[in-house]
């Protein structure tokens, strides 16, 4: 109030409330996020704009961002997920980029529970519907099922676009007197207070506070996208901004604040879907598929003609003013007048107390398989193959158009998607990865693993990681454990990003993923973009020829804390988190990229969920070939140790195959690269055999794997 110099009125309070919400102001996470590395030689735009941008050279740049739509998807899965995709697409084309790919990271409770299954299927339907309709391929994603998400699902969508750096648009209002144009959907009462809703726990009153759900309109968005693309380079366009959380209030305030100017708006000029809307409702509506532009004076007609051609109407709703204020009129009557510095930057930073959960040390000290049923290696392997977290995901992504655009060289189903760049030798590689389950024990490690794993997935196809975007899905930071997780997760992302030299160029924080005091596990989702120097050299995850030799790059290990095997056997998370030696991680990844670049390996697959045995099974299943391998000391190991060697989720490992003739060169490469490497066996046969310890027929493995996610 001191900042305003007078008491705010109801509208001003509403606007401040929305912009000072966690969702818009990052008041709890801001200071932490400042610690992340955000610069690098390729970074053209770091955090702070609608999306981050990295240079791809030769006059092309890649623009990308990830965002959560967890709360809306919990209320209405189809529309919540769909409008999440719609929102992230607008962020990308607001930068002047043409969206070329979507990815999704989704998490639910046990899919055998009909309610969870229903939510999962509806979310997939919503993601598919929006992306398919607008014609942007969904090329990858991640799906996780865990009891920790039964009350709060995770729905994060990532969009990647391409833009010529010279055409890049920024959302900065400029030029006193310039008109402000609102274009797209009419404004309705839907989604009012969505930002504040997304910044609060679910509880008994949530239903009452719930904003009207927005129904997505991908067709309208397609028209907006095409019109905005047509306007690229148009001299009349000063700034372009999407209308997201907190609607006109945030889009206008942020655009003006970035440009160091003010805006005066007349809410009476905002086209509405409903009668009787108050200025507050107009300013806070989160109606989808709207964009705000600042135009050069006199350029209105030319710009509106372009929108008109696409069946859209634009209305001039205000002008740029010199004073750094957001002034709202309703016709002639002034209804709000706020200092932009206060509105945008004024929310006091919060530093709630943080503390690790009680009993953590004891859980870390537990034997990962304490009290678990004693499964034979074959029994464990079968259960992993049939786990929805390891099973084949085709049932999901065959509902997504992953080919439109004619550039998908590798779609979903491998380690990273690969998109060609027209007229160039190189290609783009894309992935999203959430943290390791052990992040519940050690959120910092779990977050670092998320970054390392994303980079490893890119390296597995031969791509050099360029930059990352992240969505930090967490619980209530007002609980000391929640705040501790937030601090640790940001630190973990920073650790790995710095060590691996991958700048953070955009991101999103979704806090308050809680229901009745129960938080989700910390879930840092990392989206990463890499550059494959030569598209033709890329490799897949599946074996390609019988007789090829199989090698493990990276350490042996037997770490079961937080593993999928532990989840299946114990349903809990305990024991130490897997170690992560980031220097070794970097060397392993550099090695596999080099081996791919030299054409030495014919397949590469990272060892993730389910460990070495699962990676081997996937390489066999994807390639339609069996394999015979062995691990040193496996036969003689104690039962628990043996399970650890087979299914432990030790980091920094990739499984590769190579023609026998290339073996010596590959071995030389790993020796020079100071990477532990060893030959495990040979591709071929109708079964997957691990020494004397476990053998499974390929057909049986396939049936389990393909059935894991089936209804």
């Amino acid at each position: 109030m001191a900042l305003l110099g007078r008491g705010p009125n109801r509208l001003e309070l509403g606007m401040l409330g929305a912009l000072w919400s966690e969702h818009c102001s990052y008041k709890t996470s801001r200071a932490l996020l400042r610690t992340l590395p955000t610069t690098g030689p390729a970074v053209l735009q770091g955090p702070g704009e609608n999306a981050g941008v990295v240079d791809l050279g030769h006059g092309l740049a890649c623009c990308f961002k990830i965002e959560s739509h967890n709360h809306p998807s919990a209320v209405e899965p189809v529309q919540g997920a769909a409008t999440g995709v719609g929102g992230i697409l607008r962020d990308i084309f607001a930068m002047g980029a043409r969206p070329v790919a979507l990815l999704d990271a989704i998490r639910f409770g046990d899919p055998r529970d009909p309610q969870q299954r229903h939510r999962f299927q509806r979310v997939v339907e919503g993601i598919g519907w929006y992306g398919n309709c607008i014609g942007v391929p969904t090329v990858g994603g991640e799906t996780v099922f865990d009891a920790g998400y039964a009350q709060n699902c995770i729905v994060d969508a990532m969009c990647v676009g391409l833009v010529e750096p010279a055409q890049m648009l920024r959302a900065r209002a400029q030029g006193v007197g310039n008109p402000v144009l609102l274009v797209g959907a009419d404004t309705g009462r839907d989604g009012i207070h969505g930002a504040t809703f997304a910044s609060a726990q679910f509880d008994a009153d949530a239903a009452a506070r719930r904003p009207a759900v927005q129904v997505g309109n991908p067709f309208l968005e397609k028209c907006l996208l095409e019109a905005c693309q047509e306007l690229l380079g148009h001299p009349a366009v000063v700034a372009l901004q999407d209308c997201g959380a907190a609607g006109l209030t945030s889009s206008c305030a942020e655009m003006a604040h970035r440009g160091g100017v003010g805006l005066e708006l007349d809410v009476a000029r905002v086209r509405r879907r409903e009668r009787g809307m108050t200025p507050e409702e107009v300013m806070l509506s989160e109606s989808q598929e709207r964009m705000v532009l600042v135009l050069e004076q006199g350029g209105e007609a030319a710009v509106e003609a372009v929108f008109h051609r696409w069946g859209l109407h634009g209305d001039v709703i205000g002008r740029v003013i010199a004073e750094p204020r957001l002034r709202i009129r309703d016709g002639l009557e002034p209804v709000a007048d706020l200092d932009l510095a206060v509105l945008v930057d004024g929310s006091p930073e919060r530093h709630p107390p943080a503390a690790p959960p009680l009993g953590l040390a004891a859980r870390l000290a537990e034997d990962p398989l304490a009290g678990a049923p004693v499964w034979s290696p074959l029994e464990a392997w079968r259960r992993l193959l049939a786990s929805p977290n390891c099973g084949e995901t085709r049932g999901i992504w065959r509902q997504y158009d992953h080919m439109v655009g004619n550039d998908t060289l590798a779609g979903p189903g491998g380690d990273a998607a690969v998109l060609r760049l027209r007229g160039r030798l190189d290609a783009l590689a894309l992935t999203v990865d959430g943290g390791h389950r052990s992040g519940r024990l050690d959120p910092r490690r779990g977050a670092a693993i998320a970054v390392a794993e994303a980079a490893r997935n890119l390296s597995a196809v031969g791509a050099v990681p360029l930059a990352l975007t992240n969505c930090l899905n967490l619980g209530d930071p007002d609980r000391p454990e929640g705040m501790w997780q937030l601090i640790e997760v940001v630190a973990g992302v920073g650790d790995a990003a710095r060590a691996l030299g991958i700048p953070v160029v955009s991101g999103n924080v979704s806090l308050y993923n809680d229901t009745l005091g129960q938080s989700i596990p910390p879930t840092p989702v990392v989206g990463m973009v890499g550059r494959l120097p030569e598209a033709g050299r890329r490799v897949g995850a599946g074996f390609i020829a019988a007789g090829d030799r199989i090698a493990l790059l990276g350490p042996l290990g037997a770490e079961l804390g937080g593993s999928e095997l532990q989840r299946l056997a114990r349903g809990t998370v305990a024991g130490p988190a897997p170690a992560l030696d980031l220097a070794l991680e970097g060397r392993v990844q550099a090695l596999v990229r080099e081996a791919i670049a030299q054409g030495l390996v014919r397949s590469a697959h990272d060892c993730a969920l389910g460990g070495l045995a699962m990676a081997l099974a996937e390489a066999c299943l994807l390639g339609g070939l069996g394999a015979a391998v062995d691990l040193p000391g496996l036969a003689g190991a104690a039962p628990g140790e043996r399970l650890g060697q087979l299914f432990g989720e030790t980091q920094s490992r990739l499984l590769v195959s190579c023609a026998p003739a290339a073996a010596a060169a590959l071995e030389r490469l790993w020796t020079v690269g100071r990477v532990p490497g060893r030959w495990l066996g040979i591709v071929g046969g109708g079964a997957i055999a691990i020494g004397e310890v476990a053998t499974i027929e390929l057909a049986e493995a396939r049936a389990l794997w393909e059935g894991a996610l089936a209804g």
Partner: protein, 233 residues
């Protein structure tokens, strides 16, 4: 040399892919805007995939009334060639330029996957570059592709040889497992009685380069180009 025109409705997205495929095949193309009535003298009109007007109501229903469709109708009357792909097939059925209708996939889900097509006739402009019974590997990507014709209409179609493509298994046999949408008689593509208008659910423009998985789709475009050239002579 044949000239291709690609119709663009606001919700169309495979116009770019079609133009690219034609470029790969060495043929120029022009875009035809849905609100225009001028076909710019093209020999073949392509109605590409997408969601024309959001596919609200029924896929292709609103697009079938667009101004450009009046011109397409006249083009068809003159014996001009038309290729409707996916949404374009839906538009052609809605416009009555092809018989039958396309319903929601039997599985009630969108399907994006490669399928195998069997070429049923090789005496059409669209298929004369194929061998009889040839199999083409081409992707589908649609939520409403279940071809339906009532028994009488179906009998007429079969009798007149209007079925051009069917979904088959790797061995070339009809198989419900190989049919991605539950189409009657495995129908993936049909022609009109004159054999000048083809509607097909699969996307040949996505199968024009081996790096993308298949180049079988090129045959369709090459066929049209050569037929057009023949007609011009």
């Amino acid at each position: 040399m044949s000239r291709f025109g690609i119709v663009v409705f606001p919700g169309t997205w495979s116009d770019r892919d079609c133009a690219h495929a034609l470029a790969v095949a060495g043929h120029p193309s022009v875009r035809l805007w849905h609100q225009d009535q001028d076909l710019q003298g093209v020999d073949c009109v392509i109605l590409p995939g997408g969601f024309s007007y959001g596919d609200y109501l029924r896929a292709g229903a609103i697009a079938s009334h667009a101004p450009i469709m009046a011109a397409v109708r006249r083009h068809v009357d003159r014996g001009g060639l038309v290729l409707g792909i996916c949404n374009g097939f839906q538009v052609l059925c809605e416009a009555g330029l092809l018989p039958g209708a396309l319903l929601r996939n039997a599985a009630l889900q969108f399907r994006c996957q490669p399928v195998t097509l069997r070429v049923e006739r090789v005496d059409t402009p669209f298929s004369h570059t194929c061998r009889a019974g040839a199999r083409l590997r081409i992707p589908v990507s649609h939520g409403e592709g279940r071809y339906y014709a009532d028994p009488a209409m179906l009998a007429r179609l079969e009798q007149r040889g209007q079925v051009l493509f069917r979904y088959v298994d790797a061995a070339g046999r009809l198989d419900p497992e190989a049919n991605p949408n539950g189409s009657v008689a495995g129908i993936a593509g049909i022609v009109n009685e004159r054999g000048t208008v083809l509607g097909m659910m699969p996307h040949p423009e996505r199968a024009c380069e081996m790096v993308l998985g298949s180049a079988d789709g090129l045959r369709v475009f090459q066929g049209i180009a050569e037929a057009g050239a023949g007609a011009a002579r």
